[in-house]
């Protein structure tokens, strides 16, 4: 479970990020949540606080009972392993094949070579890229690249999948593929949090939608749509 308890985040430097004020949000395990809002509403700040990259100025971010702001730097990497991250620009390693990109995530957490050989083909199968394992990212379509990035994000079996504008660079069919994939991962028990501007995706999914404005939650609806906010 993720809880933002009366969080306040201020930046001395305005360009460093958007502030959060009296921010309360609870996300239960297994949920699928869209976080929407204009740029500057505080979506990125929310992700940074969640990943322990920033500490709240006031209040606390609590994940599975652990106060994220109080995690010691040496322990932070282990905390982050509970999360898988997906980005708008995919952030695949350019000179690594799809397989190597996914293997990289396993290597980071010290997975055994045997475990990797078992797990990676399975994940690539799941995201529909089994036949592209040896392709470089540049040889893939946008949707395929994002699916490779999702495979990388979930290969270590995270509790939470954070997707920051995952369909921002994709055409409608690519977006639909990615959404289907995120939903299927969610059905497997992973909590999925999607930060997005993509009204079409939000409307189609009919999931919980949390709307931010000026660093506050202004609406929080189950089975919401983009315009409902």
């Amino acid at each position: 479970m993720i809880e933002f308890r009366n969080v306040e985040k201020r930046y001395d430097d305005q360009t460093a990020g958007s502030a959060l004020t009296e921010f309360d949000l609870t996300i239960e395990d297994g949920e699928f949540v869209f976080i929407i809002g204009e740029s500057g509403a505080g979506k990125s700040t929310l992700l940074r606080l969640l990943m322990g990259e920033e500490k709240p100025t006031k209040g606390s971010v609590v994940v599975d009972g652990v106060n994220v702001g109080r995690i010691r730097p040496a322990k932070l990497p282990y905390y982050r392993r509970h999360f898988g991250m997906v980005y708008q620009d995919f952030r695949l390693l350019k000179d690594y094949t799809v397989y190597e990109n996914v293997a990289f995530a396993q290597r980071v957490v010290g997975a055994s070579p045997q475990g990797m050989k078992r797990r990676i083909p399975k994940i690539l199968e799941q995201v529909g890229l089994a036949d592209k394992a040896d392709s470089l990212p540049a040889q893939l379509s946008g949707g395929e690249q994002q699916r490779a990035a999702i495979a990388r994000a979930v290969v270590n079996g995270p509790m939470y999948l954070l997707a920051d504008e995952p369909t921002g660079n994709l055409d409608p069919s690519g977006s639909a593929e990615v959404l289907r994939l995120l939903e299927s991962i969610n059905r497997g028990g992973t909590t999925v949090i999607v930060v997005t501007h993509d009204a079409a995706v939000v409307d189609r999914a009919r999931k919980r939608v949390v709307t931010l404005r000026d660093g506050r939650v202004v609406s929080d609806r189950e089975e919401g749509g983009y315009e409902d906010a």
Binding site: P73, R81, R91
Partner: protein, 300 residues
């Protein structure tokens, strides 16, 4: 440990990606360690010469004319009782003449026979004294000069003094040059690692989000520095290993007199010191370069 092969392959990738910087660092490393190896070989040999000189060159005491055998014996006992004395050797006038003949009439023994019944060194009976430690030589000599029956004290300070001077000169020059080179090598290796770090910023950011530990992120950069360091030691070590015997032979054949007095250290003895110290030095330089760069450029 499981990730070591991965980290090493990453390090090689880094080295290849900025090959120019890497080769330049490597060249400086080779030069530094080569200088160290050469200087160490010279210093070890000079040290050995000094030690040999201390063992072989003693103080010689000649007696007053007409000193009785008993007096000579008493003097010998007084000398032996001194704590700084390791060994005392008596040379009679006859032995002195025999030795002299061997050296100066070598091949012309007949010439020496002219002196057969009239030992030219009749008054040259002596004690040759070997001290535990050369440094006490001067004081001991002045004590000797004050003893009754002593005519003359010969102190062979010159050779060992010169050797010790040469030794400390080489040492100081080496330390000075090495200090500069080590700093240059550390900076250059650090630069190479900084280039790799800047080329991998994106990868490092992704790794962090994936939960990579600091050790995992830093490992390849540390190994990159260590690899250049160790490779930089290997080349000069090989060069010195094969270069040492011909150089020693060259010195021996050019300075025959020197070669008769001093024995050069065998290669194994020199390398028993040079190999571990060179490797430690080069590894230290490589790791220090990487560590500085990581501290400066890799925000955790």
């Amino acid at each position: 440990m499981r990730n070591l092969p991965y980290m090493i392959s990453q390090s090689f990738k880094g080295i290849r990606k900025h090959l120019g910087t890497s080769l330049f660092s490597l060249a400086i490393m080779v030069f530094t360690i080569f200088l160290f190896d050469g200087a160490a070989a010279i210093l070890l040999n000079l040290g050995n010469f000094v030690k040999e000189a201390e063992e072989n060159v003693g103080i010689t005491v000649f007696f007053r004319e007409g000193l009785s055998e008993q007096d000579i014996l008493d003097l010998g006992n007084r000398i032996s009782e001194r704590p700084e004395v390791r060994r005392v050797k008596y040379t009679s006038a006859e032995e002195a003449w025999e030795n002299y003949k061997k050296v100066y009439f070598a091949g012309n023994e007949k010439l020496a026979e002219g002196f057969a019944d009239d030992n030219p060194l009749a008054n040259s009976a002596s004690y040759e004294i070997f001290l535990e430690d050369m440094s006490g030589q001067k004081m001991f000599a002045s004590w000797l000069e004050g003893q009754p029956g002593v005519r003359k004290v010969n102190v062979s300070n010159a050779v060992t003094g010169a050797l010790q001077n040469a030794s400390s000169l080489v040492r100081i020059a080496t330390i000075a040059i090495l200090t500069v080179l080590v700093i240059v090598a550390v900076v250059l290796i650090g630069n190479g690692v900084a280039v790799t770090i800047s080329q991998r910023q994106e990868q490092i950011r992704i790794m962090r989000y994936m939960g990579a530990t600091n050790g995992f992120i830093r490992g390849p950069f540390l190994i990159e520095g260590a690899l250049i360091g160790l490779l930089g030691a290997l080349i000069p070590l090989l060069a010195t290993w094969f270069g040492y015997p011909p150089v020693v032979e060259g010195i021996r054949s050019r300075y025959v007199n020197l070669a008769n007095i001093f024995a050069f250290l065998p290669r194994q003895k020199v390398f028993a010191v040079i190999i571990p110290v060179s490797l430690a030095l080069s590894l230290g330089i490589g790791l220090a370069g990487s560590a500085f760069s990581i501290k400066k450029h890799l925000k955790v």
